[in-house]
């Protein structure tokens, strides 16, 4: 793989020349210490010191709500208006892994054109990161990235080491060839290795994901799930913020002024009560505990059994989002039989609904 160097002061001029061709999206501080990928109009908004955004980058490829078709009596018109040329800058390794999992999912057997077209039209420019107390990516082995990006920027003190991951990435640096330096010194390499080692030590969470499929299987009937169900607010937020959650619902929205419908699509979450409702009103996952089991079967068991790695990329969004502390960390610990009570002891013991 080819690696070049870019002086820090040249980053924005480089992005500026790139964003003439496409919309630039990058992390922006939306609330105190809470970030969001936003369309960049002013480069000073970009905040690369972020840890994670509230919503994962999936929102750029499949927005929370969008229309798939306009259906009329004459037929169907495809609506790809959410697909625009984009550059996603500043995405961290965990989120790139998230996209790779979504790729596999949305292109498995049938290709989802609403996802794939948006994906093909987006350049992925990754950026190195530093973990906080919720980052689990070292445990999921998604703290480093070897594929899935066009360029990846590793931040050193005064410059970036830029990994070129695709031919499109290579084309990008040719737009302003003068500002990239092909000569990487021994000193640069030493700084990079030191940074890497220090970052490795900075992770505070250690979860044995490889043990999770077995634990899920062995503890499927464990009363732990009822306890989780008692605490769960069934708000669906864990799914909405998860970079690998893909479920959606389809809505037929009829137009008043002509005999036609917009066929819309919106994010759905298996933790919501309405998710498993069928025609006639029956619900085959009426209990919150059943729905949580499904969610965690998908995150901690299914993908590991199939592909040897979890469908969780360790981004920590569930941990920083769930108001009642049900997240991959706490559930994994509980499955390991640790701290079973500490997370949910706010609930009075006699609650059993």
């Amino acid at each position: 793989m080819k690696i070049v160097k870019l002086k820090k002061e040249n980053l924005f001029p480089f992005l500026e020349s790139l964003s003439k061709e496409a919309d630039l999206w990058a992390p922006v501080q939306k609330y105190e210490n809470k970030h969001s990928f936003q369309l960049i109009k002013d480069f000073s908004q970009i905040d690369l010191k972020y840890t994670r955004t509230i919503l994962p980058p999936k929102k750029l490829f499949l927005p929370p709500t969008f229309n798939m078709f306009l259906a009329t009596e004459q037929g169907y018109e495809e609506d790809f208006s959410h697909v625009t040329k984009k550059i996603l800058f500043g995405i961290h390794p965990c989120d790139i892994h998230g996209l790779l999992i979504l790729d596999r999912f949305f292109q498995h057997v049938f290709d989802d054109p609403y996802y794939s077209k948006a994906r093909q039209n987006t350049l992925i420019l990754g950026h190195s990161c530093w973990p906080d107390e919720n980052c689990m990516c070292k445990s999921t082995n998604t703290h480093i990235i070897e594929e899935g990006y066009d360029l990846f920027f590793s931040e050193l003190e005064t410059a970036y080491l830029v990994w070129i991951g695709s031919s499109e990435g290579d084309d990008c640096i040719r737009i302003k060839p003068g500002i990239f330096d092909e000569d990487i010194t021994d000193e640069d390499i030493q700084i990079y290795i030191k940074w890497h080692n220090e970052r490795d030590k900075a992770f505070q969470v250690d979860i044995n994901f490889i043990a999770m499929p077995d634990l899920m299987e062995l503890k499927y009937e464990n009363p732990l799930w009822e306890k989780l169900g008692d605490a769960c607010l069934a708000c669906g937020s864990c799914s909405n913020v998860c970079p690998t959650c893909n479920c959606y619902n389809v809505l037929d929205k009829p137009l008043l002024n002509k005999y036609a419908s917009e066929i819309g699509r919106c994010w759905d979450a298996c933790t919501l009560e309405s998710y498993s409702e069928v025609a006639g009103g029956e619900n085959f996952r009426e209990k919150r505990a059943q729905r949580l089991k499904l969610w965690y079967t998908h995150k901690l068991q299914a993908y590991i059994s199939k592909y040897g790695k979890p469908a969780c990329v360790g981004c920590g969004r569930c941990a920083s989002t769930c108001p009642v502390d049900i997240n991959v960390q706490t559930v994994a610990k509980a499955l390991e039989g640790k701290d079973m009570d500490t997370f949910w002891n706010r609930l009075s013991k006699e609650v059993t609904k």
Binding site: M68, F69, A71, T72, E73, G75, Y76, E78, F105, F106, H108, V109, F110, D111, D112, P113, Y114, Y220, N246, C247, Y248, N249, V250, D252, P254, Y259, A260, S261, D268, C270, Y275, S276, E277, V278, A279, G280, F284, R285, Q290, K293, L294, T297, H298, Q301, A302
Partner: protein, 286 residues
């Protein structure tokens, strides 16, 4: 057991094709028969499916839902569906008449493992609306009679009036190369000449089963499975030669929307046909 993309619209699997209702008539009080043909002749011919697969049907303004295909691919270009009035989409379909248009996309799902069934004896056990998906495989076996060994049909309904495809199955009784047994739970007409009792009461009619070379196919209401499976196990039919087809809510049919998941199995692409052995391992079904 993953399906492959044989969908009529290769570039966008969500895109329905216009289809015309050629014939429709009531089968029972709440089940209607629909025969449809894709408007585009080329697409009508290239709509290649196997028994056990399903299609998504949409009605403008009402939405979309999955339905198993009741016709057999051995009689191409026309598709048949048996639809029970259950929700918004089916209610809207019920209001449609001949020559009205619907949207169709598919075929989806794995379908029955027809090739591994070649040369084997086939027992088809259906109850109520279970006849909708199993009629496809039954007719397929009959149209390709040389490819299969014995073929037996056990079909049960609550009352004579609720037996879908009643006349068709009675006509099949005339065939010498099919063992066709019909039953109703109760006869309120006084004219029923066949067996009376639940579908399992037909099992004594099956003589000299060679279990290792037999495939059993089951579809019916949930209560039926427990008892029918017990009978099949009694006959020593291997668990991976007992096939069943499952129904779930679906929004996409192509393994993306997640609604048909049972554990981490997606009914729409990993199914809807599963062996009894597969089903034993689905924790959410137990």
């Amino acid at each position: 057991m993953n399906g492959e993309n044989k969908c009529i619209n290769q570039t966008n699997p969500y895109l329905p094709e216009a289809a015309r209702i050629v014939r429709t008539y009531p089968l029972t009080e709440d089940v209607k028969y629909f025969q449809v043909r894709l408007v585009d002749m080329e697409k009508a011919i290239s709509f290649k499916y196997s028994p056990g697969q399903f299609a998504m049907i949409s009605v403008l303004g009402a939405g979309e839902a999955p339905f198993s295909i009741s016709s057999t691919p051995s009689r191409p270009s026309l598709l048949e569906f048996c639809i029970r009035k259950a929700g918004t989409v089916t209610n809207a379909i019920f209001k449609l008449k001949e020559n009205d248009h619907i949207g169709i996309r598919g075929p989806y799902g794995n379908g029955f493992p027809i090739e591994s069934m070649h040369g084997k004896d086939i027992i088809i056990v259906m109850g109520g609306l279970g006849a909708a998906p199993l009629r496809s495989v039954l007719l397929y076996c009959l149209d390709n009679r040389d490819l299969f060994g014995r073929v037996a049909l056990l079909h049960g309904a609550k009352r004579p009036a609720e037996m879908i495809f009643r006349e068709e199955f009675f006509a099949l009784k005339e065939r010498k190369d099919l063992e066709c047994y019909l039953t109703v739970d109760a006869d309120d007409t006084g004219k029923w000449k066949e067996n009376i009792g639940v579908v399992t009461t037909l099992f004594p009619q099956l003589k000299d089963i060679n279990p290792s070379k037999t495939f059993a196919i089951v579809c019916g209401p949930p209560v039926m499975y427990k008892f029918v499976l017990k009978e099949l196990i009694k006959l020593n039919i291997p668990k991976n030669q007992i096939l069943m087809t499952l129904e779930r809510r679906m929004k996409c049919g192509v393994g993306k929307c997640g609604h048909c998941a049972i554990d981490y199995i997606y009914t729409c692409i990993d199914g809807p046909v599963f062996t009894y052995w597969d089903v034993i391992h689905m924790k959410e079904l137990i």
